[in-house]
């Protein structure tokens, strides 16, 4: 008898899933307590992809930290960039030109389609529908190629800028995108043919991971994951940013709050995004694409000095009488070509000078000047030819001013007002929020990111307990997480 009991003894099993598991969408680690096939307990462990983006952001100027946001949700980097830029713009009260707003809305919705396509592809693949994967990637590729056309990168785009966007969109882009929006609605039914009614798909998704509207709100779910439970919360509708208040669209919601409804929500959302893109293309107004805010954007290159007046032919010269000996130029010179004692007039050693104009834009006392065409002249001749700064021609002065701003922007970071702000945007995954505290230096004192994936990963135990082991996969897929964003 004892032997029989020993043979048939049952106990809970502790299984480690991930961090390197193809179905955990990155490096999520789950520790599962299972009783037979049933899940008893799920403990998610996150942090395997932690790169300290929030902390890194504090050591960079607002402009510099933009590429970091690409690396959060790399599946829809464009949406992250836009969220970041909007937060910084609101913090400093920058008004973005209309055209840039429309372009951002277009690319943001493209990112949404691209994200949902990847989500559908991997989600279906996890559940066992291999074919959908290939179909989705066909269309996603088209979008990525369009991204490449406007900014030169497919995934980590860094396309929006604080105050606008980097490049204007070319006509071919609009044409190709229009063609896409015409074809895409005929492609969605293809995916649906493959899985919508498929009995295996229904068995794997209907009634799995059910969460009621109230509970979903309490868990802090956002985006399609929340809307699948029937809560019509969409930041694009409730707190419109960019051009979302100028386009018509609906917010699709589900009823049951199960995996199938969330799937339906995202499919409908792709159709809505398609509509938004079409409206935006039609309404795209002519106009500037960058806001004129000298403190926050780079200066126009064609008005700046090396382009208008090539510095290579000029010599730089310190007028002895005007020099206060503050040493600013000495410290700034990258070639260490300036010599001098404190409070004494400084001197530039011409044979060491690169002609980079750094000193020219640093001096606050109008002691530094240029000798047009004076490269290679001896010291005495330079002294003779040097134009006093107040006699420098107007056009050079103007160009110099631009260059000064450019140097200050990059070297010191812009001067910014103090304040703090929380701004949320609707990224494909949910509500992406940026919280900034600005202490007036060019860098954020604190940058905090509210990542939807992080919040969604927390709800996994709630969704999985009581279901079968196989449903863990479906549940990870349905909350649409990317661990780059979750861990930051």
């Amino acid at each position: 008898m004892e032997l029989v009991e020993k043979i048939f003894e049952t106990r809970e099993l502790n299984v480690n899933m991930g961090p390197q598991h193809p179905a955990t969408h990155g490096v999520l680690r789950l520790v599962l307590d299972i009783d037979g096939e049933t899940i008893v307990k799920v403990t998610p462990y996150v942090g395997y992809l932690h790169r300290g983006i929030e902390k890194l952001g504090e050591s960079m100027s607002y402009f510099q930290a933009l590429p970091l946001t690409d690396r959060m949700d790399y599946v829809s980097a464009m949406a992250n960039n836009i969220g970041y830029c909007i937060a910084v713009e609101r913090l400093f009260g920058i008004e973005v030109p209309e055209r840039a707003k429309f372009i951002r809305t277009i690319v943001g919705e493209m990112a949404r389609i691209a994200n949902h396509l990847l989500w559908l592809a991997t989600h279906a693949l996890d559940i066992g529908a291999m074919t959908v994967f290939l179909y989705c990637f066909r269309e996603r590729e088209w979008i990525l190629e369009l991204f490449e056309m406007i900014c030169g990168a497919r995934l980590t785009v860094t396309y929006p800028r604080i105050g606008g966007v980097k490049n204007d969109v070319p006509a071919e882009f609009l044409d190709s995108l229009w063609k896409f929006t015409e074809e895409f609605p005929t492609r969605i039914p293809e995916y649906e043919t493959l899985i919508d009614q498929n009995r295996i798909w229904l068995k794997r998704t209907k009634g799995i991971g059910v969460i009621s509207a109230e509970e979903a709100v309490n868990w802090g779910l956002t985006g399609p994951t929340l809307r699948g439970s029937g809560v019509p919360y969409d930041i694009r509708k409730h707190m419109p940013y960019d051009a979302y208040d100028k386009v018509d669209f609906e917010v699709p919601i589900g009823t049951e709050g199960d995996t199938y409804d969330r799937y339906r929500c995202r499919m409908m959302e792709m159709r809505q995004s398609n509509n938004i893109i079409r409206q935006c293309i039609e309404k795209l107004p002519p106009g500037p694409i960058m806001a004129e805010t000298p403190n926050f954007t780079l200066q126009p290159k064609d008005k700046m000095m090396p382009i208008t007046h090539p510095t290579k032919e000029h010599a730089f010269y310190i007028i002895e009488k005007a020099c206060k000996g503050c040493g600013m130029c000495l410290r700034a010179c990258p070639a260490k070509a300036i010599f001098g004692e404190k409070k004494q007039p400084h001197k530039i050693k011409q044979d060491l000078c690169l002609g980079c104009a750094t000193c020219y834009v640093t001096c606050k006392f109008k002691a530094l000047t240029i000798v047009p065409g004076g490269k290679g002249f001896p010291e005495e001749k330079l002294a003779e030819l040097a134009v006093p700064p107040d006699k420098v021609p107007e056009d050079i002065k103007k160009a110099q001013e631009y260059l000064v701003k450019h140097f200050e922007f990059i070297k010191r970071g812009p001067k910014v007002p103090q304040g703090d702000i929380y701004i949320a945007t609707e990224v494909p995954k949910g509500e992406l929020g940026f919280y900034f505290i600005s202490d007036g230096s060019g860098k954020p004192y604190r940058m905090r990111v509210r990542a939807p994936s992080f919040v969604h990963a927390g709800v996994l135990p709630r969704l999985c307990v009581g279901h079968l082991v196989a449903d863990v996969i479906a549940n990870i897929g349905t909350i649409d997480i990317v661990l780059g964003e979750c861990d930051r």
Binding site: G152, A153, P170, P288, L298, K301, P334, L354
Partner: protein, 179 residues
């Protein structure tokens, strides 16, 4: 009415209608052209302005445009550019490609138009040194990928912002209506 529904349901269940529909789609696709690319043989068309390996620009006389001001090194978010100067010349200009994130900020920061990102993306190597970019390699890249018209075009279109970005340019893409 109800019986009709039931019969339809039974037929659906027995004959795997939805699965057959799916398979029909797959079969149809079997005869359309392939969307995949046979990579080393075929190559994707790279869009102009692609953010690939760097190059240091040369002027019309064939001299390097870079003066060594170090702005690119300052703005680089991953701090992978290092510039050295000696006797009024740029003696060293190195980019640690392994750290570069190809954001293109160095291009935007350089007021001299001295650095560009080429469309070269095939530069793997067995050793770190193979893809470490020195000044010589960067200048060579310019000759190989960017010299002539292409470089000019690059600066015209992708070296931003220009003053036309802050005002309404004369030629701008807007929607021209359905064709």
């Amino acid at each position: 009415m109800k019986t009709k529904e039931t019969i339809r349901k039974i037929v659906k269940t027995i004959f795997f209608i939805e699965i057959i529909k799916g398979l029909a789609l797959t079969l149809k696709r079997l005869f359309s052209h392939a969307v995949t690319i046979q990579y080393p043989v075929e190559r994707r068309k790279i869009a102009p302005g692609f953010r690939g390996q760097h190059a240091l620009a040369k002027d019309v006389e064939g001299k390097a445009k870079c003066v060594g001001c170090g702005l690119c090194a300052t703005i680089c978010p991953s701090q992978c550019i290092s510039v050295g100067r000696e006797k009024g010349k740029v003696s060293r200009y190195e980019i640690d490609t392994l750290r570069c994130i190809f954001c293109g900020f160095c291009v935007e920061a350089c007021p001299y138009g001295a650095i560009v990102l080429t469309e070269n993306y095939e530069y793997s190597g067995y050793k770190k040194e193979d893809i470490y970019l020195t000044r010589e390699k960067l200048l060579f890249n310019w000759d190989k990928f960017m010299a002539g018209k292409k470089g000019e075009e690059y600066f015209k279109r992708f070296w931003r912002p220009m003053s036309e970005d802050f005002e309404t340019p004369s030629i701008q893409a807007i929607w021209r209506g359905r064709h």
